[in-house]
């Protein structure tokens, strides 16, 4: 028995060694073919070039925020962003969920402010390129977005009147250098806001129209300063950018820049894995809303995503057309041509950008998917959506043939999926984003 056992052991280790040897030889062969795998045809080179940070246009001007380019606004915004006094418990600032040391997000499935949120904190760099903010796009400017969490009961848990007091007491000089004179805050209630608790609403109703307008204006200006800071943050080039720029320039150094499996993953990303159909451009997002059948975090009350958000952005007092916007109505074109009442918006969420993605799990709008491997598997399996209809298809789909052209399923072997995940690592950030040097 013992002899059989040791024979099996020897045979097993011989096979394992042969297998290891075979794999090593194959990888060496791959290393040989790595030079060839860096060859890209003209069409692929055009796609690669489109992904480079060099192709990122200057951030669009937001006509609704008159101070967004002023250095003083950037400075004030950075201070407000990090000031935890702007919360019900004095312990939550924007940086709590948007940590500057973590790509301005928190690594949690859903945000944890004074309470527990319902969605994943989104990274901030590049958000100035999005016409719609949040996963569901319920705000149409960076400055309007900043105001939502400040008054959200589970995020900062505060209210605009409390914040007006804080601004008057701590930031008067900075505020008045950017905006008009700070309105009088003496005699205002400590806590009041239009959509708050019964007591907050009653206090708000008891303020006269002028006072309410003054407080809302101070509030909107806080948002504008915060937006100026956020917009000044810039991406640093990644390994992928260096590789793409070298390929486009026909620089032979390109061949040493990415590992063979990363190049394979890139080829899949722009090819049969279909990633670039939504994750396109230098920010790796089409800025649009898609349903990929991500399972809802709360099955009892599933998140409708974009479908529930268009009414919110239209009705938002801080939108482009509202009284606190610096834009002329003719400049509010995104709102004017916004898609709403389309069944495709049910359960649809904004395509997230992918720069630094491998460094910031978990994934999706409520952190439902823990790893990138699982994300790829989800997009290949393409489960039926619980809310709305997934845009993706899977192989062995139902036998009834669709009458219109449908998206081809994404089909990847395990090795290909692994290569794709390896490729995403080339978008890692070496350093945290910072305010651009001025």
């Amino acid at each position: 028995m013992r002899r059989l056992h040791s024979m099996v052991w020897m045979l097993g280790s011989f096979l394992a060694t042969s297998a290891a040897l075979a794999v090593t030889l194959a990888q060496a062969a791959d290393g040989q073919t790595a030079a060839r795998s860096d060859r890209w045809n003209a069409e692929d080179r055009a796609v690669l070039a489109s992904l480079s940070l060099k192709r990122l246009a200057p951030v669009p001007v937001d006509p609704s925020n008159a101070v967004e380019r002023l250095p003083a606004a950037v400075d004030l915004g950075q201070r407000l962003f990090n000031d935890a006094r702007f919360s019900r418990n004095g312990a939550v600032s924007c940086a709590t969920c948007h940590d500057p040391q973590k790509q301005f997000q928190d690594g949690l499935p859903v945000g944890q402010g004074v309470g527990t949120g319902s969605r994943r904190a989104m990274p901030i760099v590049g958000a100035g390129y999005s016409p719609w903010l949040f996963w569901d796009g319920r705000n149409d400017s960076l400055w309007a977005q900043a105001l939502g969490p400040l008054e959200d009961a589970v995020e900062h848990g505060g209210n605009r009147t409390r914040y007006a007091h804080l601004m008057a007491e701590n930031y008067r000089k900075e505020y008045e250098s950017l905006f008009k004179a700070m309105p009088r805050t003496e005699g205002l209630p400590r806590d009041a806001r239009p959509n708050g608790s019964a007591a907050e609403q009653a206090a708000w109703a008891a303020m006269d129209v002028r006072q309410r307008e003054n407080v809302s204006r101070v509030f909107s200006n806080m948002g504008k300063a915060i937006a100026a800071y956020e917009k000044s943050l810039q991406h640093e080039p990644s390994r992928l950018d260096r590789y793409v720029d070298a390929v486009v320039a026909n620089d032979p150094a390109a061949q040493g820049m990415l590992r063979a499996n990363e190049v394979k993953g890139l080829r899949l990303f722009i090819g049969k894995a279909q990633c670039v159909t939504c994750h396109n451009g230098p920010l790796f997002t089409d800025q649009q809303f898609h349903n990929s059948g991500v399972p809802p975090r709360n099955a009892a009350s599933p998140d409708r995503g974009r479908a529930a958000a268009t009414a919110k952005v239209r009705g938002d007092e801080f939108n482009c057309l509202g009284p606190f916007s610096d834009a002329r109505p003719a400049q509010c074109q995104e709102l004017r041509f916004m898609v709403s009442e389309d069944p495709a918006l049910e359960g649809a969420f904004k395509t997230p950008g992918l720069r630094g993605v491998a460094q910031r799990p978990p994934y999706m709008h409520a952190g439902q998917i823990a790893t990138l491997e699982q994300v790829v598997r989800h997009l290949v399996e393409a489960p039926h959506a619980k809310v709305g209809h997934s845009e993706l298809t899977h192989t062995h789909a139902s036998k009834t043939k669709s009458t219109h052209v449908e998206r081809a399923p994404i089909e990847l072997t395990d090795a290909e999926a692994a290569d794709l995940v390896s490729f995403l690592g080339t978008l890692n950030m070496d350093r945290q984003p910072a305010v651009a040097a001025r």
Partner: protein, 145 residues
């Protein structure tokens, strides 16, 4: 006009295959098409310089009767999307102005990515209701530009 048509067909042939499939090889990208029930002949006029991806821009469309006479006061709705991706247009373009000679200004057009897009027009006038679908291929600028 002919140069434009040739150029459009060349672009279609050269399209960057961005990860789903290439557009069908026999894709009709003509910019003058009769409507389904032949009530109208519609000419699509894209902007002189192609807009950047995700940039809001305008197109014009000219509606004529089958005999070629310009049709004024038509109501036109715009729809469409990317058939190979299973999604619609990212915006809701609208006719915002009627111009001379049966021409209409469509504002709010936007393409969120390169590839094959359908632009579907539903046209209604005293001469009747009809529809037409145009194909357009939004292409990538070449590398190194």
């Amino acid at each position: 006009m002919n140069r434009f048509i040739t150029a459009t067909l060349s672009i279609a042939a050269l399209v960057a295959t961005t990860g789903c499939m290439s557009p069908p090889t026999n894709l009709d990208v003509s910019i003058i098409r009769p409507t389904v029930d032949k009530k109208y002949v519609v000419t699509l006029q894209p902007p002189a310089a192609p807009a950047a991806i995700n940039q809001l821009h305008s197109w014009q469309v000219r509606v004529a009767s089958s005999a070629g006479a310009p049709v004024a006061h038509a109501r036109i709705t715009v729809d469409g999307g990317m058939p190979q991706h299973g999604h619609g247009l990212p915006t809701r373009p609208q006719v915002t102005q009627e111009l001379p000679d049966g021409t209409y200004l469509i504002e709010g057009m936007k393409f969120s990515m390169t590839g094959w897009w359908e632009i579907k027009l539903a046209i209604d006038s005293p001469e009747g209701a009809d529809k037409v679908t145009f194909n357009t291929v939004v292409s990538q600028p070449a590398a190194g530009r």
